[in-house]
């Protein structure tokens, strides 16, 4: 069960536990943060064959129902987990109030092959240390996700049915995502925004952590109204 907490719930989804993520720390300071872990066990079926992502999402919804009955939450997912997150938003619209996709690889066209090589994930090599580290189990889960195919044509056909406010965040220097891909989210998801993080690769949290945190925090707080500026430009009041 998610700990009782009067604060709004944010669920972070991925093969990583987000333990080392400054984004998780920032969200946890303001929200009740739960983690929904994608594991080898829930991603693979018989004979280690990847389960359909929709099926994975359904099992996660059941798990969330047990953990937080009638709970509503903002769902944050990164990279390959974005496909699962979009299915969750489609299948549990009453629960997923808003969706944040970080470097999602859920739609075509993709860029270079999906990889977990840290040096391919950052815009600047000196930021490699900031890439979230995966243990063996997490790596296996990621491999399972990739083997299952990061492109889900059925999902892509249903993107226009995603009901919640959605933010898709991309690093401008992401080598795994084609520059043409972000606009697909904006075109297809009715209430969506795309945000380009300058000078960041696929692992935005490694290259521009504060930019990612500020953007996501603002969206989680204000949803699609985050487009309205509120920074004061007064210099000497």
């Amino acid at each position: 069960m998610v700990e009782s907490d009067s604060r709004d719930l944010v669920v972070m989804l991925g093969p990583s536990r987000w333990d080392d993520s400054p984004l998780r720390d920032a969200l946890a300071a303001k929200y009740n943060v739960a983690r929904m872990l994608l594991t080898r066990d829930n991603l693979l079926g018989e004979e280690d064959a990847p389960r359909p992502v929709q099926e994975v999402a359904e099992s996660l919804i059941r798990a969330m129902d047990r953990m937080a009955p009638e709970g509503k939450y903002t769902l944050v997912a990164g990279s390959t987990a974005a496909t699962v997150a979009l299915w969750l938003a489609l299948l549990a619209p009453e629960a997923v109030e808003a969706l944040v996709l970080i470097s999602p690889v859920a739609v075509l066209p993709t860029g270079n092959p999906v990889t977990a090589q840290p040096d391919q994930l950052v815009a600047h090599l000196e930021n490699v240390a900031g890439v979230l580290q995966l243990d063996t189990g997490q790596s296996e889960a990621l491999s399972a996700l990739i083997r299952g195919g990061v492109h889900d044509s059925e999902l892509e056909d249903r993107l226009e049915q995603v009901p919640c406010a959605t933010l898709a965040v991309f690093g401008l220097s992401d080598r795994m995502i084609s520059p043409e891909a972000p606009r697909v989210y904006r075109e297809k998801i009715p209430n969506s925004n795309i945000c380009l993080i300058y000078d960041a690769g696929h692992a935005i949290v490694a290259d521009r952590p504060q930019a990612l945190i500020d953007t996501v925090m603002d969206f989680v707080e204000r949803r699609d109204a985050f487009v309205v500026g509120r920074q004061s430009s007064v210099i000497n009041p």
Binding site: R183, R186, I194, C195, I197, Y198, R208
Partner: protein, 368 residues
């Protein structure tokens, strides 16, 4: 080879200006100013008539020597008079400006000219960092982010948010997009390695200003190498040299003209600002390899011929053809962007030079 006329729109009484920058607005006389702009536009129109391929505009501030602080405004006005030449914005000073606004102006200009726009990206000279209070130490970073943002804004068909280091916009959705798809030709004006490499890696053109050919060759040599490494080869139009010119009927006339002016004019060595201001600007840029020669490029004193190094082409037609050919042969320049409005050269004299250039120089450099 192609020729471009730099529409400087210099204030006709600029020879009365003090040597310091900025020029106090007290020197401005409305009647003179209106006439100067009209004469400047006449020069652009005549340059088109004489066969120039481009007319260019460059952003400079707080001085009447190059009186185009808002180059898009000037370009739009001239584009209504000149219906054939390409309109080259060489260019907007990206560290100073809102890149989204720049993209909107460029999109409009390409539509207003039905696809005749050429885009140029510039960092600007140190003095101009003061114009809008930009920290000189951040100029390079603002240039790079500005280029990326403008390129994205001019090509992205869906609204997006931008989370930069220097710019944050939650909604960017530039209208209109350029007529030329996917982009008008883009020239990056620079001599800095990192910016030259940016141009090469993004398959953009290169502009170099006011340096002698051996210095430009060093820059273009790297550019061509990095373009090859990036898997492409620039077209001739993508390598632009901007230089100052004084063209006379004969070499002797040109040399005599220069001799009369040697020693006249502001102190050699670049922009004259108050000493402490100069020190502050230089200190701020010091970590970026500041080179005092940079201040000559497009500076308020770039048009000062009291020092010979401010003038790149001087002579009669034969000698000027050879001088231009040197930039073609040794540097790979395919376009020469020419600044005619030297101090002490009035409107009538500029028109004479344009006429002579069109008759005696342009047909010959086309053969390069």
């Amino acid at each position: 080879m192609k020729a471009s006329y730099l529409g400087a729109m210099g204030y006709s009484q600029r020879h009365t200006f003090p040597t310091t920058w900025p020029i106090p607005p007290a020197y401005h006389d409305p009647e003179t100013s209106v006439r100067s702009y009209q004469e400047g536009m006449d020069e652009c129109e005549f340059a088109e008539e004489m066969g120039f391929d481009w007319v260019s505009f460059s952003e400079h501030h707080y001085s009447g020597r190059i009186a185009t602080a808002a180059p898009a405004v000037m370009a739009a006005a001239v584009a209504e008079r000149c219906k054939k030449v390409r309109i080259a914005m060489l260019g907007q000073l990206l560290p100073l400006n809102n890149p989204v606004r720049c993209a909107e102006e460029l999109g409009m200009l390409d539509n207003l000219t039905n696809g005749r726009l050429i885009i140029g990206f510039l960092r600007g000279t140190p003095n101009e960092d003061q114009t809008y209070g930009v920290n000189p130490a951040e100029g390079r970073g603002r240039l790079f982010e500005g280029m990326d943002l403008i390129l994205k804004a001019l090509t992205e068909p869906q609204p997006f948010s931008w989370e930069g280091r220097y710019h944050q916009y939650r909604t960017v959705s530039v209208w209109p997009l350029p007529v030329q798809q996917p982009l008008p030709p883009v020239i990056v004006a620079t001599r800095s390695d990192d910016t030259v490499r940016y141009a090469a890696e993004h398959q953009l053109g290169l502009g170099v200003s006011f340096v002698p050919p051996e210095q430009m060759a060093a820059v273009t040599g790297k550019y061509f190498q990095w373009c090859a490494e990036a898997g492409w080869q620039p077209e001739p139009d993508q390598v632009v040299y901007r230089g100052s010119i004084y063209l006379a009927e004969t070499d002797k006339q040109a040399d005599d003209w220069l001799a009369e002016r040697t020693g006249i004019g502001p102190v050699p060595g670049g922009i004259v600002m108050r000493p402490n201001v100069t020190k502050a600007v230089n200190a701020s840029r010091a970590g970026e390899g500041f080179d005092l020669r940079n201040v000559l490029a497009g500076s308020p004193q770039g048009d000062v011929v009291g020092v010979a190094r401010g003038l790149n082409f001087i002579g009669g037609p034969d000698r000027v053809v050879e001088q231009i050919k040197q930039f073609h042969d040794e540097c790979g320049a395919g376009v020469v962007d020419l600044f005619f409005q030297q101090p002490g050269v009035d409107h009538r004299e500029v028109m004479r030079e344009i006429d002579l250039f069109g008759r005696e120089v342009l047909p010959r450099i086309r053969e390069f």
